[in-house]
């Protein structure tokens, strides 16, 4: 069971019901649950969308697109049914925040889905969880069944004539790529999870060809809280153009790893040194991967930056999925870069050639370097490959593999050169067998 953590600097919105047994529907109702959706039914779609726009909430999956604006793109009239799709295919290495939400507060996801449905005029929502989260799927399935039993889902919800909403839960079966929105729709339609070309965007042509809003589970879980507290009040908690709070999963070499709720714009340095208790065993910080494995690395002297989408972009990296991975002085960046690209090589769906071939050749080249067969030109080759993947694929997986790779070789070029010349930094973390065989799956 995930360890519950807390810190005085946390600003609790999303975690309000965590640790209180809110997976139980009666407890959830006692803690103001299902009030927001009933108010939303009264107020209507325009009010919901305006509140969401005022909240400044931006997509918590990683791209940071303003949620209210996304919802407003869905055409009011549509010959095809509209859908709400919740992306709980949490697979970005370093990210485990949705895990906590599904475990502690599944009804907030259900309620948020219903509100999104009311906003866009959809009568059906899907909650998609990654296949590995079976125990969480059972929790969500139970929550959905309980909501049906109370008349909160189905026909004439909350006794309102003509207001219908259905929710279906869905499981994946192991594929990082399915976390990409169009690939997730393919998967939900019973196909291989390969991305679709855009445009058309999901808001116009999405699931089953109908207009679809697809949001990350944390984004959706934030919605009921925003409606309860008001858009402006939520926005004020965060920084400029970055409303509210978000869950940050701090992992790696820190004393108190865990999922913390911090206001947008909170200092990365404080998140590491105060909230997460500093570097494990009193060691020195070497680098931080600030928002899941696809975000370019920050060096130890680059962490005086606020944790919001704009400040992170200015610092040359991304806020991503909020998964902060901390590396101490003992880590070899060569090894860490290799482990990162091994993941993307394994997960590339093979649909686009720059990603399929690029990830494979970067992995091969870095493996050669790691196994002491590297040449100096390998570093340039890796950089060349990564640069040529950027922006040349259907979905962002190609970029997600290229961006961290570029970060590693550009910011730690000297370490790569030293490694090739036999001066290795850090203590190996991979096992002997792995060094030769690579991740064999």
């Amino acid at each position: 069971m995930p360890r519950y953590v807390s810190h005085p600097d946390e600003v609790i919105v999303l975690k309000r019901r965590h640790g209180q047994g809110a997976a139980n529907i009666d407890k959830y109702i006692e803690l103001d649950g299902y009030k927001a959706v009933q108010n939303a039914i009264e107020q209507g779609p325009d009010w919901i969308i305006n509140t969401m726009k005022a909240s400044g909430l931006r997509g918590r999956g990683g791209a940071g697109f303003p949620t209210g604006m996304k919802w407003s793109f869905v055409p009011k009239q549509s010959p095809k049914p509209k859908y709400v799709l919740v992306n709980g295919d949490e697979s970005e290495p370093g990210t485990c925040k949705d895990h906590v939400i599904f475990l502690e507060d599944p009804h907030s996801v259900i309620e948020g889905t219903m509100i999104a449905g009311l906003a866009i005029g959809a009568k059906m929502g899907f909650i998609y969880l990654r296949g590995e989260y079976r125990y969480l799927l059972k929790i969500v399935e139970k929550a959905v069944a309980d909501a049906y039993a109370k008349g909160f889902l189905g026909k004439n919800i909350f006794g309102k004539e003509g207001v219908d909403f259905d929710i279906v839960t869905q499981t994946g079966a192991g594929a990082y790529e399915v976390g990409e929105e169009s690939a997730l729709m393919e998967s939900l339609e019973g196909k291989r999870g390969v991305p679709r070309i855009k445009p058309p965007f999901p808001a116009v042509v999405g699931l089953y060809g109908g207009p679809t809003v697809i949001n990350n589970a944390e984004t959706i879980a934030s919605v009921p809280h925003i409606l309860l507290m008001g858009g402006e009040a939520y926005a004020k908690l965060g920084s400029e153009r970055n409303g509210g709070t978000r869950l940050f999963g701090i992992s790696g070499h820190v004393e108190r790893p865990g999922v913390y709720e911090l206001p947008m714009g909170y200092s990365l340095r404080k998140a590491i040194y105060e909230v997460a208790g500093g570097i494990k065993c009193g060691k020195q910080l070497k680098a931080v991967v600030p928002g899941g494995s696809s975000c370019p690395v920050l060096k130890a002297d680059e962490i005086d930056v606020g944790l919001d989408f704009d400040q992170m972009a200015k610092a040359g990296t991304m806020l991503g999925s909020g998964g902060i991975v901390v590396l101490d002085e003992t880590v070899s960046i060569v090894e860490f870069a290799l482990r990162t690209i091994k993941f993307y090589q394994h997960e590339s769906c093979g649909w686009c050639i720059p990603c399929r071939e690029g990830t494979d050749w970067i992995k091969k080249t870095l493996t050669r370097v790691y196994n002491d067969g590297g040449q100096k030109k390998d570093i340039d080759n890796v950089q060349y490959l990564a640069e040529n993947m950027m922006g040349r694929t259907f979905c962002p997986l190609g970029d997600a593999a290229a961006m961290p790779t570029l970060g590693f070789v550009k910011k730690f070029r000297k370490e790569f050169e030293d490694y090739i010349e036999g001066r290795k930094a850090g203590t190996p973390l991979m096992s002997e067998e792995q060094e030769l065989a690579g991740v064999g799956h």
Binding site: C96, G131, Y135, A175
Partner: protein, 189 residues
């Protein structure tokens, strides 16, 4: 227009409306699972949407996705078996050969690696005497090195079948494996 094509020739129907299912007599699945499949296909606007969950649930019951399972699922969804195979080969959790009764999946991705994920994997290899994607001779355990399982803040972590085990140490792994061997492990279905 792939997105349009994605809809196929079936017209999307509203939830719960009568998706008819091809008749399956003599299901290879248990009556409970067959009934679950009967219901599952009615939940979606297009019944093909049930494919990935059906493959996973079939594997949960049989231990892997067998040839007979592929055929029956194809029949149930009005698909060619090739459609089913194409999807089956895409998802890393689906397998076409049996694994051990307890499939030990050790995460070695970045957050787990930093906190000793490879040590845990090596320990499992030694303890079980098997390597990646191998099964013990008695069929009790199989081992896999897997990518991020979403337990980064409680690393290093592993899953045994669907159960998460977190904050692992080699000693803790010993206890967990002994519990499963004695039939006392957690077992989420």
């Amino acid at each position: 227009m792939r997105a349009e094509g994605a809809v196929g020739n079936d017209k999307p129907k509203s939830c719960g409306s009568g998706n008819t299912m091809a008749a399956v007599t003599n299901s290879i699945f248990s009556p409970e699972l067959a009934a679950r499949f009967d219901r599952l296909v009615t939940l979606y606007p297009l019944k093909r949407s049930a494919l990935v969950p059906m493959l996973l649930y079939a594997q949960d019951e049989i231990g892997y996705v067998s040839e007979a399972a592929i055929q029956e699922i194809a029949t149930r969804l009005d698909l060619f078996d090739l459609d089913v195979r194409s999807v089956l080969s895409y998802y890393s959790m689906l397998r076409t050969k049996p694994a051990g009764k307890y499939n030990v999946q050790v995460c070695t991705n970045i957050s787990c690696m930093l906190r000793g994920g490879y040590q845990i994997l090596d320990h499992c290899k030694k303890k079980l005497g098997i390597g990646h994607k191998q099964t013990t001779p008695d069929g009790q355990f199989s081992l896999e090195e897997v990518e991020c399982i979403g337990a980064c803040c409680w690393a290093p972590a592993m899953q045994v079948n669907y159960d998460f085990h977190e904050d692992l140490t080699p000693a803790k792994v010993d206890t967990i494996l002994a519990d499963y061997a004695a039939g006392k492990g957690k077992d989420v279905k």
